[in-house]
Every structure is written in C-alpha cells, then in structure tokens.
C-alpha cells in the first residue's frame, strides 16, 4: 500500500488543497475533505530530464474514491495502470494486444521506487512534519512544500498550482536535486462525479 502513497497523497492533497483554497490555510483541510468523495481527471505529465532537450510527455487519467481507491493510468506512450483498492495493489502493462500483470521483479522495482517516493510524502500535507508548507494567493494560488533534511536528497520542492475554479488544480510541479523535474497538468477535472467501482478492479 505504501507504493501508492505518492499518488494518493498527490491526488487527494492536491485536490483537497484546491478545495480549501478559499480558506487559505491547512487547518481547513480535514473540513474540506468531507466534501470530497471522488475525483476523476485526465493528466499530462512532463518529465524534464537533463539528458533530454525536450520533456518526456505522458498522458493519462486518474480515478480516486475516498478513502483509498485509486486508478492511476498512463495511456501514452506506454499503457500502464496501477490499481489500488484498500490494501490490494495491482499493476498491469498493455503489451502485445492485452493487459499483462507486471512481472514480479519489475513490480518489486517499481515498489521500491514508489516506496522511495512514499518516504517523501508520509502523512497528509497539512499534518506533515517532513514538509514545510507555504501558501501564495497568486494568482494563480500556489501551495509550496519544501522537504526537510534527508528527503531533500530526492526532492527539493513541490508546488501545487491551483485553478481559479474551486475544486480544481491546474498542475503539480515536483523538483528534484540535479535539475530534473516533473510537471503533472490536470485537465477535465470532475469532483464527486459518479463512475463504476470496477475502474479500481480491472485494467
């Protein structure tokens, strides 16, 4: 379950922060979270690597249902989906025309990476002792999270850019030491829309 902490926290915290944007403080987080039942969105991920002059682009979509159901799906260039429902976590890759469960060792590798990420994101944002938070009213409004000693070996800063539309975030920026960074832009965000629970069970 740890391996989804990054994504879960990213999604929930991101959207919850956007929800509490009018309140402009972390203490409203829990209150605001009561209004969030589900999130559905498309995303465009831009991975900036020092080796590449142009970012590596990936497109995908996510479904989230409180408290712990998540579908984080990449559609292009690789089709891959990570499903979490409670404590159950499954990873599938679309290859040779069908969905295949991720090979055990590769899952372990990704678990390891995600576990590494999870160390950066333990706890909720507003309760985090690891990250120092800051809020900038903008526009656009931004929540900035700076990690403390240790975690800053892996991540320098997270910035959540909020949309003017209540309940929607525009993007999340994750900066790493050494110049690499990841930007995830959310589109077509739907809060509390209904969708089949099967999205968390089947690739």
């Amino acid at each position: 379950m740890k391996q989804f902490v990054f994504l879960s926290v990213l999604v929930t915290a991101g959207f919850l922060f956007s929800e509490i944007a009018p309140a402009q403080d972390g203490t409203s987080l829990k209150e605001a979270s009561r209004n969030i039942r589900s999130v559905k969105a498309d995303f465009l991920q831009k991975r900036f690597l020092q080796i590449l002059t142009k970012p590596l682009l990936s497109e995908g979509r996510l479904f989230f249902y409180t408290p712990d159901s998540l579908r984080w799906e990449y559609l292009n260039p690789l089709r891959s989906v990570m499903l979490q429902k409670g404590n159950s976590v499954q990873i599938y890759n679309f290859s040779e025309g069908k969905w295949k469960p991720e090979m055990t060792q590769a899952v372990e590798a990704r678990r390891m990476v995600l576990a590494e990420l999870s160390q950066w994101f333990q706890g909720r944002f507003n309760e985090s002792k690891t990250f120092k938070q800051g809020y900038s009213p903008g526009p656009p409004a931004r929540v900035t999270m700076v990690p403390g000693e240790g975690i800053n070996r892996f991540i320098q800063r997270i910035e959540i850019v909020l949309s003017a539309r209540p309940g929607v975030i525009d993007r999340v920026e994750i900066e790493e030491p050494g110049g690499s960074r990841t930007s995830i832009e959310f589109r077509n965000v739907e809060i509390n829309s209904s969708f089949s629970p099967e999205v968390f069970e089947k690739p």
Binding site: Q45, R47, L49, I51, L52, T53, K54, L56, L57, S58, Y74, P77, L78, R79, S80, N93, F94, S95, E96, K100, E102, M103, Q105, A106, E108, A109, R110, M112, V113, L114, L117, T182
Partner: protein, 219 residues
C-alpha cells in the same frame, strides 16, 4: 551395382560434409567494395549528437516481459552513449554511460542492478547506434540498391548490416563459430536517421526479444 552403391554413399557423404562445412546461407564473403559505397555502411548510425525516447517491450524465454521507456543520448564523435530506463511514471530504474568502451553505471534499481544486465543492455545499445570502430572488411551494393557490409571483430565475431532506407535494415552479430547471436530489424519511417521500429532478437546467454518504438526522436 556395388560401384553404384559406393557412389551413392560417396555422394551422400560428400553432401553431408559439404553442408556441414558451408557457412550459414545468409553469410556472404565480402571484399572491400567501391569507396563511394562505403558511407552506405554507416547510414543507420547517427553521425551527429542525438537523443531519443523509445517505448521498449521486452520478452524473455519463459514468458516474462516488461514495458519501459528507454531514453538514449549519443555523441558519435566521442563514441559516447547514455542510456536510461524509466517506468511509465518517469522514475529512473537504470542510468549508464558508455564512453570509448568504458561503462559507468550511475543508477541501477533491482532487478536491473546486475553487472550482466548493464553490460548486455549497453552492448545492445551500442549494436543499434554505434558502428564498429574499424573500417568494414568488406562491403558492396547490390543492383537493387541494397547495401551489405561486414566487420570482423577482434575475437573472430563479426557484424553484418544489410538493407536500405526504403526496405529497412538488418544487423547480424555472429559469434566466433559464425552463429547468429543477435539479429536486429530496423524499419522505417526513419526520423532524423532513427528507425521508428526496431526489433532485436538475442539468442544468448538467454534468449530475449526487444521491440522498440520511437516515441520522441532527436530535436
């Protein structure tokens, strides 16, 4: 009658011996060809600095497979290649550089952390993107425009490339027994000199296949 039987046995023996002694049919003995055809031997290898992103689907004997993104950057003049493997999320699982034959692994996450994997991967990347250092021992252009070039390796291995931009290319790596141990098919369209579709079959040390689709070519 006896004479006829003896002849049959002789012919059969001759046939067996000649078959056993003949190199694989696909292998041609080449001599140095026309100097103006020589650049054709390097047509599939980028000559300027380049970078690429490939979707990689790997399958292994026994049915194991993985899909990852491969990022490669090349500096041909320095015979330098940097290669990364990333998960769909963009996490780096493997990062290594090859410069003038010397390999430096910067990051390797299990199960990609064995020296054998690193060596094998960088050997495959070299096979795909770097021509052998020496001049080919033989080359020629067939009447239909197909180039064929052969490089002898120091350990009696050899590398052969054959094809054209229109019909695609093949790279064959043979061991000292002249058995094909790696075969690569490069098919177009070619974008900035890079093949859009690459398929590599390796037979040793353990058989595997890599299918690579060009996602982002050089700028």
């Amino acid at each position: 009658m006896i004479w006829r039987k003896s002849l049959d046995i002789f012919l059969l023996g001759f046939l067996i011996l000649s078959t056993a002694c003949t190199p694989p049919l696909s292998r041609k003995t080449l001599r140095p060809g026309s100097p103006e055809d020589l650049p054709g031997c390097y047509a599939i290898f980028p000559s300027e600095p380049w970078e690429s992103v490939h979707k990689i689907e790997a399958t292994f004997r026994g049915g194991g497979s993985f899909s990852l993104l491969g990022v490669t950057k090349g500096e041909p003049s320095e015979r330098r290649l940097q290669s990364l493997l990333l998960t769909p999320e963009g996490f780096i699982l493997f990062d290594a550089e090859l410069r003038d034959g010397e390999m430096a692994v910067r990051k390797a996450v299990p199960p990609f952390d064995s020296p054998a994997f690193a060596g094998g991967l960088m050997e495959d990347v070299s096979l795909l993107f770097l021509p052998p250092q020496e001049k080919p021992g033989g080359w020629g252009k067939e009447t239909d425009g197909t180039m064929i070039c052969n490089w002898e390796g120091p350990d009696d291995s050899d590398t052969e490339i054959k094809g054209s931009m229109e019909r695609g290319w093949r790279i064959l790596r043979r061991d000292k027994y002249k058995e094909v141990i790696k075969e690569v098919a490069l098919n177009g369209p070619f974008v900035n000199g890079l093949a859009s579709h690459v398929e590599l079959h390796a037979s040793e040390p353990a058989p595997y296949t890599l299918r690579m689709t060009l996602v982002q070519p050089s700028p």
